[in-house]
């Protein structure tokens, strides 16, 4: 069976599902077939993968230092049978 024809503007919307492995097998074949013949979509997919990889070391918000210190102090008071034997 020949895989169905996917246009680029449809393919770009399927790429997260493609990467997650949640598409039906015939859709995966159709996407792979399209990617083989399409520089633009291959580049787009590469860039999406790169973006995901960069996110793995992204800088994100966290608690203030003051909040951390208060929590650690509370742990020293509350936790453990006898924190300072």
């Amino acid at each position: 069976m020949t895989p169905r024809d996917i246009a680029c503007n449809e393919l770009v919307e399927l790429l997260t599902e493609f990467l997650e492995g949640t598409l039906p097998p015939d859709e995966v074949v159709a996407i792979e077939e399209h990617l083989r013949g399409c520089d633009g979509c291959r580049t787009y997919l590469d860039q999406l993968r790169t973006t995901i990889e960069l996110l793995g070391s992204a800088t994100v918000d966290t608690l203030s230092e003051q909040a951390y210190e208060e929590l650690l102090a509370a742990f020293g008071r509350d936790a453990g049978p006898d924190p300072q034997p």
Binding site: T16, E17, G40, Q47, T51, V60, F75, P81, P83
Partner: protein, 220 residues
Amino acid sequence: MSTATGSVTHDAGPAEVYCARVLVEDADLVARLRTGDQAAFATIVRGWSPAMLRVARAHVRTDATAEEIVQEAWMGVLRALPGFEGRAMLRTWVFRILVNVARRRGRLEARTYVELEGPTVDPDRFRGEDDPYPGHWRDDAAPTAWEPESALLAAEFRGVLGRALAQLPERQRAVVELRDVHGLEPTEVCELLELTLGNQRVLLHRGRARLREALAEAMP
């Protein structure tokens, strides 16, 4: 002051951390916490709070309230730790306490739909219906290859990514950070944010596509 929550004020915005994947807990973590090992507590508070902050922020409107929720959740963890029976993973248990606090303080807004609609790539970049190849990239608008990845790791692009992440709609941001920054499983993200697997994937896709676009715009 008897607790870390409620009466805290912060003049600056949230602090930032260069965040590793949410750490995997080792078997004796609970035992160490119970014997009062402060280093063990510091490790999980620092490791898990950024992801907890994102979950909290999806329930309430301000960063300050989200931070209070995370602090309150940790205080709840300290109180309940002696009774923790270890049936669930510690992290699952901690995040469940967090979600309970977050639900009491706010609610997930029913505004997801605005974050789910429309194409993620500008339709003008594709050929029209009258073209022999409708929906395919226009020659002058197809993506062009980026610099090698090593160049992308430079501080400049890290900054671009961080700013673009902060500008995503709240739920997209939460899903992208929990999945791609902290490495949580899709089912865990769905539970924390009350999403279907399908909507979780759509939010993830839209967020990733927007971040790819932000990096592409920053390319020389």
